[in-house]
Subunit: 124 residues, 2 copies
DNA sequence: TTCTTATTGCAAGTTTATTGCAATTACCAT
DNA sequence: ATGGTAATTGCAATAAACTTGCAATAAGAA
């Protein structure tokens, strides 16, 4: 664990919403942490492989976002189509459905993604 | 409606799984239909705006896939992590949950995406 | 057929993310 | 501490998906 990795991890810890590599890069530069964008990408890859970070690919965003997995329970997201704000949904209605899908398709399911989009209270 | 647009639409009609712009481009060239990749992208954009085609952004694929919306009921997908095969799931367990989420978040929900990943029977 | 408008192809440009490689840094053993 | 080794980093270049500008072409109406 180097200081650059700690800086990325610390930023993820204090960020409440899923954040992109570019946003991490820009935020750290504002905080006078010298780090290359490539290093941000590589660090995120490492943290993902270590199981500390989750990668999200939200619909129609065209970029990856990351959030800390550690210490957080399984959840999903809702995103405002106008302002892009992302909010956590601390629920998951898919336990039973997963079993049904495994029976129907003969797949072994090991992950799922669920995302809602719409208008946030401010943008309605 | 030009012949190139009809070619794209016809290909989408006879393709059973969500297909990417590059795949459409390559498939049409194999069928000796001269079409530029840019035109494929623009055609897909038009068809999407007309509500004839749905764009999917599957998790960790890093590209957009498209499927015909016309005449098909609402459904979701499951994708094999090994071979990439995508299968339709002709179910949706999210009607009640959507109402709950609207109450909790004060968002107006107007869409959702749901995707399962796992191992298909062949890749297990 | 001719005129007008929409569509297309080509080239160039964006954006997001990855790779190669040399230079630097971290960490372990001494 | 110090030196050696292996991992990490920055820079430059590259890749892949997608978009934009613009002139040439094709479609549809008069």
């Amino acid at each position: 664990m180097t200081r650059t990795r700690q800086a990325v991890l610390a930023l993820l810890q204090r960020t409440r919403h899923p954040i992109s590599a570019t946003e991490i890069f820009e935020q750290l530069h504002q905080e006078k942490v010298a780090i290359d964008l490539v290093t941000v990408y590589r660090t995120l890859h490492v943290l993902k492989d270590l199981g500390l970070v989750l990668q999200l690919d939200l619909h129609q965003e065209g970029l990856a976002r990351y959030e800390l997995k550690e210490g957080r329970e399984h959840h999903h997201h809702i995103r405002c189509q106008i302002c892009g704000q992302i909010e956590d949904l601390l629920l998951c209605p898919l336990k039973k459905i997963t079993k049904l899908i495994e029976q129907r398709t003969q797949f072994i399911v090991d992950d799922h993604t669920l995302e809602f989009t719409g208008l946030c209270p401010q943008c309605q």
